[in-house]
Symmetry: C2
Subunit: 330 residues, 2 copies
DNA sequence: TTGTAAGCGTTATCAT
DNA sequence: ATGATAACGCTTACAA
């Protein structure tokens, strides 16, 4: 692999000139610049990233820390981040934490070691410590969940309002015993959605209509059964987790309940397959891609020298009413 | 940010000793080693990644190049890769190409610049040029699609056999006009699946039962309509793309066809929501996570010095028969 | 405008 | 076993 010295030799100039020419500094003779580019081309020269990073004391790398890239929400966010970051010359390193604070810590630790320029993180908890990163000059933006750290930007979604809206719509459609089904009751998004659900129901909220369970587990199966049968007998469900949705819908059919007509459903973040079911699913979909784009923009702006108060962006989810939450459907 | 020199000063040793101690070299007095670790700890010292990479002439970074991380197949693969790579100390950089050779080239180019240790790529075409990477010593493994480059490892899936098996099962279940619905007719996976479909059908294959369309487009809608109505009148469908599946299923219902009973369906790579539909979907699911794990293992082995012929791994997809491809269902 | 040379923070060679 | 010291390949004062 040729170095900048090889290019310099071939173009009969100094390494400094090669560096300047290749980095498009104005102060270099067009004639020489051309010669340098030609030499670099002929040698197949590629600047040595680590050396450059060492010298410049910064990298063109962003770290994305999420619970699970297999979650379509985070995958879409990652896509938005990568598309936007790449346009500004940044690469994206991917880290999955599985909501494990230890894994998260280690991910942030390597981010610090590698001197990444920025970190986009869906923190396991608001207390996650990103101060060392920020002290060192990295731009940090929290996505999906807030961070206590006052110097971090954030990109959140008003999922609480969306949950309230969805619940109200179910109410309007005539459902009376509307349940809430979520996983990870301790997580920020779930708490927000539950709060929105309760906002809409007011004093009518009935504790036994609220359930939490891990997707694809026995507890999920029995929670669903409980919800669908007496004494609970829900007649509609706000499903806060996309992972819980397939099994729930299956159970609804199993219990001979007609989706929409007998049993209303609004699901969160089911984007890919809402139309696979009939009647089609009513969904609250979060603007995951845009969140990634926005996070990237914040970081790029910060790294471009923008100073001042942290940016707090709150996007709105889209609520799409389809047959699954309409009594009059069919 | 403290450097190795600061640690050395605090521990009253040379930087060389600090380096050795922190990298666990045997040749260092346990006493000193402890002092060094303490000093490093107190200072919150983190080795400077780029400097280390420069000196070591290699990085602990892998680049993953896929068409779209939003595709659940690639997301699962990414997860498997990241989990496994992390265990060996590697980070994963994510690049989406959208099947665009230009974007792919630029992704490979930065991988080369950054001197990544390895590349996992689902190439846009077998002709994709990874030779410079390999010349430079990077380990390259092709996933999902093969690469002409003879020095690259590969992790493929026998999707052709799986398609044949699925088609045969439809045949056995009594369906007679089995269609094939795919997107991107020029891609390797689609060609394999179509070939498998034809393997099973033999001379009975009817050209007009084979359609290709882009997901969520007008062409998709009309292709589905054509397939479901005379003169084509398919009575079953092998859906080679998960993205095409929701709309197809919706259309089946719209045409008053009972899934399974009237119209058989086997879908590829629908893992998350196969159980949301009733009857549940028969699916061919590729071992995406395992592919990522395997790719990581290959790379780690290569980088650990393993030499010899390229590893060619072929995994088998799982074919799960459920109600959607059983005539006797209901 | 161009060249010389001093680092950036490590690791590894070579003495001691 | 430990310590000087020379790279690694690049960018950027500073000189010319």
């Amino acid at each position: 692999m040729p170095t900048i010295g090889d290019v310099a030799a071939r173009a009969n100039v100094s390494t400094a000139t090669v560096s300047r020419a290749l980095n498009g500094k104005a102060t270099v003779d067009p004639e020489l610049a051309k010669r340098v580019r030609a030499a670099a081309e002929e040698l197949g020269y590629r600047p040595h990233g680590p050396a450059r990073n060492l010298r410049r004391k910064t990298t063109a790398t962003l770290t994305l820390v999420v619970t699970d890239i297999g979650d379509p929400f985070f995958a879409a966010l990652a896509r938005g981040l990568e598309d936007t970051a790449r346009d500004s010359g940044y690469s994206v390193v991917l880290c999955d934490t599985d909501d494990d604070p230890a894994r998260e810590r280690s991910a942030l630790d390597v981010a610090l070691q590698e001197r990444v320029a920025g970190v986009v993180i869906a923190p396991t908890s608001a207390a996650t410590d990103v101060s060392k990163l920020i002290d060192h000059g990295a731009a940090v933006v929290a996505v999906d969940r807030p961070l206590d750290e006052p110097r971090s930007d954030r990109v959140l979604v008003d999922t609480r309002a969306a949950a309230a809206k969805a619940t109200s719509q179910l109410l309007d459609a005539g459902y009376r015993r509307i349940g809430y089904f979520g996983c990870r009751a301790d997580g920020y998004p779930d708490r927000q959605r539950l709060a929105g659900y309760q906002d809409a129901l007011g004093t009518n909220a009935d504790e036994c209509l609220i359930r939490h369970a891990c997707p694809r587990s026995d507890t999920a199966a029995s929670a669903i059964r409980d919800l669908l049968t007496p004494p609970v007998s829900a007649d509609a469900l706000l499903i806060a987790s996309p992972q819980l949705t397939p099994d729930t819908l299956g159970a609804v059919t199993e219990h001979e309940l007609a989706l929409g007509t007998d049993f209303g459903v609004v699901a969160f973040d089911v984007a890919a397959w809402a139309m696979a079911v009939r009647p089609a699913l009513s969904v609250v979909s979060q603007p995951a891609y845009e969140m990634g784009v926005t996070a990237a923009r914040h970081i790029v702006a910060r790294l471009a020298g923008e100073t001042g108060a942290p940016r707090h962006t709150e996007l709105s989810p889209e609520f799409v009413v389809r047959g699954s939450s309409l009594r009059e459907s069919r």
